[in-house]
């Protein structure tokens, strides 16, 4: 998966590139709008991360140029100003998602994966599996090692999210937003409690633990990972 980052702030650009590379993507970095536009037009990227405030061409112009050239690469734009008008403008110009600075890297990673997944399409699986855990989406049933586990609706939704994104670290705010529709800063202690309870049902009494806490970042469901 190739990702193009267009970002003029040197540290942000470098760390985004490093982070994405370490997450298993191939990442290129353009430091101004012109380079970004050139690369985007013929680089065959799967995703573009575009800063709005850029020297030369700004993010909107790059986005416009890319779309005019008929390149349909999904675009995630980064903005420092959380103005509704900005968001609307970006989405109207054909951006696919946005993040307001400062953001957590885990959040960016989660959004990037969502956008890349969206492009792939294909049939949605009706049963999600990891190790000996099985989640039947149609019957709303969770089974671990052949044993049925009783889950509340929200616990089921939380487990489904963790399973769909297995291996990805999900920040608390993203979990709150996707499972409880809390699209603003809320008490993240709630997520800790919810995950702890889910973990008690899923992991307690089993040899391998599936749900892990990544300190400072969030939660991840993974087969074997050094639980930090």
């Amino acid at each position: 998966m190739k990702i193009l980052i267009v970002e003029d702030e040197p540290k942000t650009g470098d760390y985004l590139k490093q982070g994405l590379t370490e997450a298993g993507f191939v990442a290129d970095l353009a430091r101004d709008g012109w380079d970004g536009l050139e690369l985007a037009k013929d680089g065959h990227y799967d995703l573009m991360i575009l800063d709005v405030m850029l020297p030369g061409l700004d993010g909107w112009q790059v986005l416009d140029g890319v779309r005019r050239a008929g390149v349909e690469t999904p675009v995630l734009f980064l903005t420092a100003r959380d103005q509704v008008a900005d968001r609307v403008k970006g989405l109207e110009l054909g951006a696919d998602d946005y993040l307001v600075k400062p953001f957590a890297f885990a959040e960016l990673l989660a959004r990037v994966r969502t956008l890349l997944r969206r492009g792939r399409g294909g049939l949605e699986p009706t049963v999600l599996k990891v190790a000996d855990l099985e989640l039947d989406l149609l019957r709303r049933r969770a089974i671990r090692a052949g044993k049925k586990i009783d889950l509340t609706a929200k616990e089921f939704a939380l487990l489904e999210l963790l399973l769909r994104r297995q291996g990805e670290v999900l920040p608390r705010s993203l979990i709150a937003s996707l499972v409880w529709d809390m699209n603003f800063d809320s008490d993240t202690n709630v997520i800790d409690v919810a995950v702890r309870r889910l973990r008690a049902k899923i992991d307690e009494g089993f040899e391998s633990r599936l749900i892990h806490t990544v300190r400072g970042m969030g939660y991840v469901l993974d087969m074997d990972r050094d639980g930090a």
Partner: protein, 456 residues
């Protein structure tokens, strides 16, 4: 074009008014004098006409007729400037006194009984003509003419004098008007000077309202009220800035110390990892604080326009109760929602406000307590109350919604929020045109949001 100064306006209007009055008065005086002379002249002319008529009527024989010119001359002796002409039906001059040319102008005038006034060069005349019957039955036309040059000269001089006097009077009143306006507007200039002396550092000064004329007093009152509001916002703004600086200083100094200590000597990867994790937590806190402060700043500057959708508050409340229920249950707190209400506004914002209130209530509720969300609506709008056990000291109540206010300094150290939650609730309620109140009595603390039917 720059508008005229008030002083100039007032003095010009005053001078114009006075000039119009003076013009009217002058015209009236000139007309009265003229009229007076006309009356005198008419009297003299009519007297002479009657005399001529008498003389002519008495002449009933040719001899007597021959005597008439001499009698006329006698009658006219001593009447300077008065002359008589008699013309017969054929237009032949029958008599003319010596000192006057034939008064052609008078004979040209329409045959009416009235005064005719005309000028010949420098001189002016006024005349009267009428038919007279002679004693032997003939009809003659008698024309009596008075030289009124001296009257005319007098009136001309009088008019000239009047014009000069009026011009001087108009100029004088303009000057006096300017003086009056200038003096009258002195309080306004004094006020301007004072207002010009005000600056951000001297916002506490006020214009003295006593001793001002009523018109300006209103202005001064309005101006002072504006200063009050300005001073208040200015004070809040500078307090907010210093709070921000203070609130940012703590996490930044934590980060600095921690990083510097970590860099002090080489450590194991595990130790570095620990430092980074701790930093990440601080950063997250900072990012959240910045986001909250931006939201507040935008709400203050009216940059947030809540959308106007119909929001089912009961549905929002139960969604939030489901979320916070997990935490409440953990702490042995019961959450309940009672009643129904809808409000017009921004769903996400109202949800956020309610979320902050609930989170606050759970945080301050003792274990085993109950947090109740009550929804009511009436004609005026809807009311949302969030109630929990636990008291807030009375002295804290007025400051609850202030930014960065956390009643308990210990709680702050625990890292649970930075005291912007309730300030955000108030901002959201206010951009919806609503009102929020807090009360604490009998061991219960109650927050109430009043939302109008339609947001302002």
């Amino acid at each position: 074009m720059t508008p005229l100064s008030l002083t100039a306006r007032v003095s010009l209007l005053f001078a114009a008014g006075v000039t119009v009055v003076l013009l009217g008065l002058g015209w009236l005086v000139a007309w009265s004098v003229d009229r007076h002379f006309q009356e005198i002249d008419r009297h003299a002319l009519e007297g002479k006409l009657a005399l001529v008529g008498n003389l002519m009527a008495k002449a009933n024989s040719p001899e007597a007729m021959d005597e008439v010119p001499r009698e006329l001359d006698d009658a006219l002796v001593g009447h300077e400037g008065l002359s008589v002409t008699l013309v017969d039906a054929q237009g032949n001059k029958w008599f003319a006194s010596r000192d006057l040319d034939y008064p052609a102008a008078l004979f040209r005038a329409p045959a009416q009984r009235g005064l005719t006034t005309w000028r010949e060069g420098e001189r002016g005349y006024r005349g009267l003509k009428a038919p007279v019957m002679t004693g032997d039955g003939r009809t003659l036309t008698a024309a009596i003419v008075l030289d009124i040059s001296h009257h005319m000269h007098f009136i001309d001089a009088f008019r000239q004098g009047l014009v000069i006097a009026m011009t001087l009077a108009a100029l004088l009143t303009a000057g006096l008007g300017w003086l009056a306006a200038h003096t009258g507007l002195r309080p306004l200039r004094r006020m301007t000077d004072m207002a010009a002396g005000l600056s951000a550092s001297r916002l506490n000064e006020r214009l003295p309202e006593a001793g001002l004329p009523p018109e300006i007093q209103n202005l001064a009152t309005a101006f002072n009220a504006m200063l009050d509001r300005l001073e208040e916002s200015f004070r809040r703004l500078s307090e907010f800035s210093s709070d921000i600086a203070h609130e940012l200083r703590t996490p930044v100094s934590n980060l600095l110390i921690q990083t510097h200590v970590a860099l002090g000597r080489s450590r194991s990867a595990e130790e570095y990892r620990e430092v980074l994790l701790s930093s990440a937590e601080e950063y997250e806190r900072l990012a959240r604080m910045i986001g909250d402060m931006l939201f507040l700043a935008k709400a203050d500057n009216r940059l947030i326009a809540p959308s106007q959708e119909s929001v089912d508050l009961a549905a929002e409340a139960s969604g939030l109760v489901e979320f916070y229920g997990i935490l409440a249950e953990e702490r042995g707190i019961r959450l309940q929602v009672a009643g129904r209400a809808t409000a017009a506004g921004d769903r996400l914002m109202l949800r956020r406000a309610l979320s902050n209130l609930l989170s606050n209530a759970i945080r301050h509720s003792p274990a085993g307590g109950t947090v109740t969300v009550r929804l009511d609506s009436d004609a005026a709008g809807s009311v949302v109350t969030v109630e929990n056990q636990g008291a807030i000291p009375a002295e804290h109540l007025p400051r609850l919604f202030d930014r960065f206010f956390t009643g308990d300094p210990v709680r702050r150290a625990g890292g649970e929020g930075v005291g912007l939650g309730l300030a955000i609730v108030r901002s959201i309620v206010e951009v919806h045109g609503g009102e929020i109140t807090a009360e604490s009595e009998g061991g219960l603390t109650r927050f109430a949001i009043h939302l109008p039917m339609h947001a302002a």
